[in-house]
Point group: C2
Chain length 333, copies 2
């Protein structure tokens, strides 16, 4: 069924370690897709030695079969592990890391990979290498030629899409515009249909204010901005709200909604991390390629110590596989 | 060990029903305190008939023993159940409901009750009866002569105190002042020591902005307002933060903190209701009397239908008993 590429992420973060743990724990897997690593052979081998993990790490090339029981690595850099220090990215590691991402996009376009799963990078490491993107997702959007995209956090119990992301609370009310809410609802609905294979997704739109503004007593953004977007919705999915924020996530987790459109970062992330700490997946909707990501960072403070866990990577891999299958079914491509 | 009074709340809400269910399900209970109802005998009896609940509902007077197997009711109003309609409060029900609350405070002061647990009322019903309080808690503060108080939501896994409550998101940043944060931290710490019996409570103060402002990139309230309050803390408990909001509740639920001080309603209520939907308790800290409350409303839409659950009332009763015991131990009173 083809391969899914896992980019190694920052070579001095926890990426190499969680990839090794992912392969060590991996059974044949329900996905049907084979995981392959886009990264650095020497770094992977050195990490395995350091952690005393008895894994055969083998060079792999696009189109070649994946040998069972090995960790197949497409070698895309020639870093010298002796020169690297955990938690200390430099120009070389930054360039290498960016190269894994570029290669993944290229290989998906060449049909050598069905999807990509990304291990964490930092903006700092990206900038050291001379790339001016604010983050991973913006870089992938540019590389894949997407003119819009949406971050969704997805787990078994809860899926959350964000209207605003990294903004101070004081700026959130002005940024929650009809256009921003409408775009988020539209991309969420399409993503649930095409990527998650739902015929008629049920999307709950959260209110901005407590109790949904309580008839204007605690704010009017609900009636002025959010409700009109919901009323004018005419797509195939079912869009409802604005719902009181303090109960909508409970209702979604209980199965009443397939996703919640949240107005700001913590409105969505607080409940998501409470239910999915460690096993959440960050999915980028709206890209022409399939991309999921672990929902944690490079964790420089614990890199190289054997303390990182691969539960989010496990979940991100299975979700990428599911999305790749759904897209084939939905779009025939 | 004495009695704890349960006020019946709005007579046409779900109060009478959840009280009956509470008594029906009640075993001898770990609390040691006896529950007694402050309400209306006729309404309680009529509700039991309506719901086919075979319970003996008996008049009770302060100081009299509570007969095992009965629902002891201090009759404080003479409503005619035939004249009442579920979900439709009027002047009579409003006055009766306010009377139960006034009686409870009076009886605690007379040492006839050790604590009170309140069933829900509505502001509308209170206003119909001519009381001008914005809500239950404000009325109790006035009746008990408290000059400050704090709403805490408490459950087995999470305790949350709120710096701001019913405010639009757009006003939250200006309302999060050093004074407001300091007052909330102080009352939370004292409440955990005296009411929850913790010697050295660990209090996490949440940041206002995503990632705690990320060094000022997404807001500066952390460094300007919240951090100085934490630095100047010199009480017995351990106060830390400001912590990124999207992980602090997970950490608290995992046992790292005894309570979280949240900056705004949904920051605290979203995680609380996710973990404690149906079994959460609303505790009023800072009052001279012990008062807990169910964390839900009158639910007029399902009143009289037998669909309400008493899990929150169970939890509120046990928490009131625990607080009453702790106060005796701490204050010797």
């Amino acid at each position: 069924m083809g391969c899914i590429g896992i980019t190694m992420g920052c070579p001095v973060g926890i990426g190499p370690e969680i990839i090794l743990k992912f392969f060590a724990a991996r059974k044949s897997g329900p996905s049907g897709y084979r995981p392959v690593v886009l990264g650095d052979l020497s770094v992977m081998r050195r990490t395995a030695e350091l952690l005393n993990m008895d894994l055969e790490i083998a060079a792999w090339h696009p189109g070649a079969p994946v040998r069972t029981g090995t960790v197949p690595v497409r070698n895309l850099s020639d870093l010298d592990p002796g020169e690297l220090a955990w938690g200390r990215p430099g120009i070389e590691t930054g360039r290498a890391m960016a190269g894994y991402i570029e290669a993944a996009v290229r290989m998906i376009r060449n049909n050598e990979l069905a999807a990509m799963v990304t291990c964490p990078i930092t903006k700092k490491a990206l900038n050291l290498a001379g790339y001016d993107f604010p983050g991973h997702t913006e870089m992938l959007a540019a590389l894949s030629g997407a003119d819009e995209y949406l971050m969704m956090l997805a787990g078994d119990r809860l899926r959350v899409a964000l209207v605003t992301i990294h903004e101070p609370i004081s700026r959130v009310p002005e940024l929650v515009s009809r256009q921003a809410v409408a775009d988020c609802v539209r991309m969420t609905e399409r993503g649930l249909r095409e990527d998650f294979g739902m015929e008629e997704p049920r999307i709950a739109v959260a209110a901005l204010n407590p109790h949904g503004g309580e008839q204007g007593m605690f704010g009017r953004e609900e009636e002025k901005v959010i409700a009109p977007v919901i009323r004018s919705w005419n797509g195939p999915g079912r869009v409802s709200g604005p719902w009181p924020p303090d109960t909508v996530f409970h209702r979604a987790a209980a199965g009443e909604f397939d996703a919640v459109v949240a107005m700001y970062h913590d409105q969505g992330l607080i409940p998501f991390k409470l239910l999915h700490f460690g096993d959440g997946v960050n999915v980028t909707l709206g890209l022409p390629i399939v991309r999921t990501s672990v929902d944690h960072g490079t964790a420089y403070d614990i890199a190289g110590q054997g303390r990182a866990e691969c539960t989010s990577l496990d979940a991100a891999f299975e979700m990428a596989a599911a999305i790749a299958r759904n897209r084939i079914r939905q779009r025939g491509s």
